[in-house]
């Protein structure tokens, strides 16, 4: 087990180095940089001023020098300065992490706490009216784009309550505080919840047909015990895999949700930074997201062993 963990950690490191190179090179391959944007949009272009700014930002250096400079800084906790705001990148990124983390955490909690129980319910009541309703709900969740759902929620909230749950750093009431996070989390988590529900249902249906479930019932185990102790415990592995993957994909949904609900989190900031070709912000944010994804996958793999003792990571 120990050797497996070490191997996985080493692989994570290689993955991160690979991502860092890909992100760095891709960013520079994409046409236009901050200097082009600042100067060409401005109209008057003095080539000397342009060259000066390029030199000041280190963009005149060979690409490998720029890369090594970035990695060296990263290893020393120096993420560089934002080209746009001219503030340290760390100061720009850090305050946004808790906002997005809270939103992502709530969305995942929503997805699991709604998706798993409803998936179980749908499976054990297969073929009933309830099952059909839940299947329609889950299909809707998969089909509705989160930006559309978000806008719909905002419109409904304005027309019904004359108020809207867009971000406010200093909410006045508990209700507002809950609304500004929970409503967007539900909007973004609805798709994940639907997927979790469908996976839980199909996995449960498969398990419920197994011999040991019949045996458990024959032994006189209660329906609750059969469903949750015997069936769900065995059906949960693919669900955990999906939740792990969804955690990684969540960032895509968050970009849209943070934009619609005007939440100043990491995802929206990344898009803005990309628009300005603000390399230090984009590079460091992508690395942060990559780290989260890699760690989420690692955690899922470790959870397999915890949940299912049959799984052994042998040396």
């Amino acid at each position: 087990m120990f050797a497996y963990i070490v191997r996985r950690l080493a692989l994570m490191l290689v993955t991160l180095i690979g991502i860092s190179i890909i992100v760095f090179v891709l960013l520079r391959i994409v046409p236009g940089n901050i200097v082009d944007i600042l100067f060409d949009a401005a109209g008057y272009v003095d080539p000397a001023d342009k060259a000066n700014l390029q030199r000041d930002l280190g963009l005149d250096q060979p690409i490998y020098v720029q890369y090594l400079h970035w990695i060296w800084g990263l290893l020393h906790g120096d993420l560089g300065y934002s080209y746009v705001s001219e503030k340290p990148a760390l100061d720009e990124i850090l305050p946004r992490i808790p906002i997005t983390a809270r939103l992502a955490g709530l969305a995942l909690t929503f997805s699991a706490s709604i998706g798993i129980p409803l998936g179980v319910l749908s499976a054990v009541r297969q073929g009933t009216r309830l099952d059909y309703v839940l299947r329609i709900v889950s299909l809707s969740g998969l089909s509705l784009p989160s930006f559309w759902l978000g806008l719909l929620i905002l419109m409904a909230s304005v027309s019904l309550f004359d108020s809207m749950p867009i971000f406010n750093p200093n909410p006045k009431t508990w209700g507002e505080a809950i609304a500004i996070y929970c409503v967007p989390a539900m909007a973004v988590g609805f798709r994940s919840a639907a997927l979790t529900m469908r996976i839980t249902r199909s996995s449960m249906l498969e398990v419920l047909r197994q011999d040991y479930i019949r045996t458990a019932r024959a032994k006189g185990a209660s329906e609750r015990s059969v469903n949750f102790r015997h069936a769900l415990k065995n059906a949960i592995l693919p669900v955990i895999t999906v939740i792990g993957i969804e955690a990684a994909f969540l960032i895509g949904g968050l970009i849209v949700t943070e934009t619609v609900f005007n939440i100043p989190g990491v995802a929206r900031f990344l898009v803005e930074a990309l628009r300005w070709r603000d390399y230090p912000i984009v590079q460091n944010l992508v690395m942060l997201i990559a780290l989260v994804v890699v760690l989420a996958n690692f955690t899922v793999d470790m959870l397999y062993a915890v949940i299912d003792p049959r799984i052994r990571y042998t040396d």
Binding site: G43, D49, M164, I166
Partner: protein
Amino acid sequence: MRSVKALAVAVLSLLSAYGVASAAEQPKQGGILRMYHRDSPGSPSIHEGATYSVNVPFMPVFNNLVIYNQTIAQNSMDDIVPDLADSWAWSSDNKTLTFKLHQGVQWHDGKPFTSADVKCTFDMLMGKSPQKFRQNPRKSWYEQVNDVTTNGDYEVSFNLKRPQPALLALLASGYTPIYPCHVSPAEMRIHPIGTGPFKFVEFKTNESIKLVRNENYFKKGLPHLDGIEFTIIPNRSTAILGFISGKFDMTFPTEVSIPLLKDVKSQDPTAICKVEPNNVSTNIIINSSAPPFDNIDIRRALALSLDRKAFIQIMFEGQADIGGTMEPAPQGLWAMPKEMLESIPGYGPDIEANRAEARKLMEKAGYGPNKHLQVKVSTRNIPVYRDPAVILIDQIKSIYIDAELDVVDTAQWFPKIARKDYALGLNLTGNAVDDPDQSFYENYSCGSERNYTNYCNKDIEKLFDQQSVETDVTKRKKLVWEIDKQLQEDVARPIIFHSRTGTCWKPYVKGVTVMVNSSYNGYRYEDVWLDK
């Protein structure tokens, strides 16, 4: 006797009504004006910005030497009023403009404002100072200024190479604030210090901008507000919903499109909305230095194919204007008379006749029903560019041109057209000042970076200079009309339409004036107050 009594009653009731109205309109002090901002500006430094996204939130931090009267919608030379300068005068040869400065003005950090600050600002703008801006987009505005000299702490003179009456108009723009000598350009990009009615508090990228009342403002009794808060909301639908729900007192200026305006009015009938032109033209840029548009016949055919009214009907439900380079009258000061405009090929009312003529020109150039010209129409990937480009593609089909839409990322748009890497493009041109000097030199002068079409006509260039030195406004206007007509006939950059956009605010917001011939100059907000 009865009629005298009736008259007296009428006069008294009129007077009392006037008194009530006056009392009702007496500005109230206090309150925070809440607005949304359409995007996160690059920095708070107005001199380094090239979009009104910077002017709107940061113009209240500064003062100019002079400024367009903030309560009059139309910017004109006659409505330029003192700001940091108490008075100004031209020398007899019209080559020196001298300002007497207001005494006792303090910067927001408590340091005194003097003529040295004015000199510093313009030395930096002209590139003569050791301190440099990171970018200096309006350096060309001061090409005719030899130097700026001071005479004591409260007098400053602009010495020109030749007369340029338009200089005063440029100095009155929201793009021309005075910066302090003792704060570096780099610091001004992070924490601007001004003399204006509001002090900068904070700018959180992508989040918010906060300004607070300057208690030591040199204009007594102003500003009325305690502060202004901008929440940055790039998503237009969210922003509009925020305004409707009452989270904001005012929309971002000139950012509400005509269809959105209908939504606002239907969901919040109390909202006050104004639709005004903003001196932004939508135009076609043609790369005349490369085939096929190096052929003047094809360029002329293109200009003749336009159905401008159709553009306006589809995009603005009829609420936009047809004109030449200068903004159309009555809001624009320099527009050609209607009959002169309609005499330009392609501006006449008979679209079918124009297109028949265009087809003849295309046939002369070797194209016809069996041989269509294949081109790409390049444009920026945002709706205000994309939508008219699609209509353009549809219209030029009628003259044997099959065009494909080539949408370009914003970051790439200006670099692409500046290096002339396009054949046909659809562009928007905004003018900060309704003055021909700014428009002609910037967009049509040989070698200008913003002359994207490579249009170069030495004869017309002489006319540019001739109008620029002309101090008689009537004579200057006639010259400007001739130039504008010539530019359209030469198909230098065919103007399709001049747009109109909306601004909305809640009824309790008072003292808002939406400028009608520039969207860069009307955001000092010292006269704005909240009636609640």
